[in-house]
Symmetry: C2
DNA sequence: CGAGTCAGTTGCTTCGTGCAACCCAATGTG
DNA sequence: CACATTGGGTTGCACGAAGCAACTGACTCG
């Protein structure tokens, strides 16, 4: 997405998309949620152009979705963390993940599984643990490589 | 969003965004879900450029999210309906709606409420009825104007 | 003292988007 | 009958966002 406004739209979906509907934004949030916090790490992981990553991070910080924290001075280096607002995107992310899994599945199964930290149960696309039935939030969950990730790791090996 | 691919990403979120992450796509789905089915109607409601709407609709049809059905011949006129795959975007939409409502609220309250058809209860951002506790799907829900819609209707009146 | 790391910025090109105008068949209006 | 309007688009142009590669600048490591 380009411009960050949908003029004339009065709807919280449109408002949400103004902020996180830009190309790459949600994927950046996903990666930060998964533990990538540094510029180069994000850039390599996503294959995004550096200037675009730079503007996206700035915007996500402005919108209070990410927080930029120095982890050393001289030279100044920063890490990006999710704010509460950013963490709260988790239900939207797993809803999209679920939809993707159901309708454009990978041949060997999902490359990523979301499990409940406490009991290890799989988490549905509504964020409910299928083992214990609890309604979960971002901090209760953990991403693990799924069956589809194996084929991938293999492909990565052979290309090296 | 622009190109519809995120090269090198192996993740169902990225796959989902390839399809519905383009600018306007999700808003089109939202509008069709709300009963708008015709080209001009969508164009006016969204304020989207006609050529862009045209390409978006084609792509959504290609991706089996919308179905294009003629409702008259000569001159041929078409309506767009959601497929099962399209309807299944509902959980993602209400998750985004919920996030928008929580973090960028409208001053007079949400402009749109999602309620359970059967019991009239409000539906949470996980798609669970807060009245009867059932886990719901697109067909169980209905959108109603919320408190924030009044101020809007007023603004629309005065501008006429 | 040269190579590498990290977090960007700069410049250029390409491609997606917004906008307005046009097209065409049929239908409504005076 | 002439003329405007509706519906569903297509075409052409201008502009801004994204992709790519190169560069910067402060430091560290061997």
């Amino acid at each position: 997405m380009l411009r960050h406004d949908y003029p004339g739209q009065v709807c919280s979906i449109a408002k949400a998309l103004e902020v996180i509907g830009e190309r790459w934004s949600l994927l950046i949030v996903r990666d930060v949620m998964g533990g990538r916090r540094r510029f180069d790490d994000l850039q390599k992981g996503l294959g995004i152009a550096r200037n675009v990553l730079s503007t996206r991070l700035q915007r996500l910080v402005e919108e209070d979705i990410l927080e930029r924290r120095p982890y050393q001075e001289s030279p100044p280096r920063y890490e990006y963390f999710l704010t509460e607002k950013g963490l709260d995107l988790w239900p939207s992310l797993i809803a999209l993940l679920g939809w993707g899994d159901r309708h454009s599945p990978y041949p060997d199964g999902p490359p990523m599984l979301i499990v409940h930290k406490e009991c290890g149960g799989q988490i549905s696309d509504r964020g409910i643990c299928e083992e214990c039935g609890k309604l979960l939030h971002a901090r209760d969950a953990q991403a693990l490589p799924g069956p589809g990730a194996k084929a991938l790791a293999l492909a990565a090996q052979t290309s090296e």
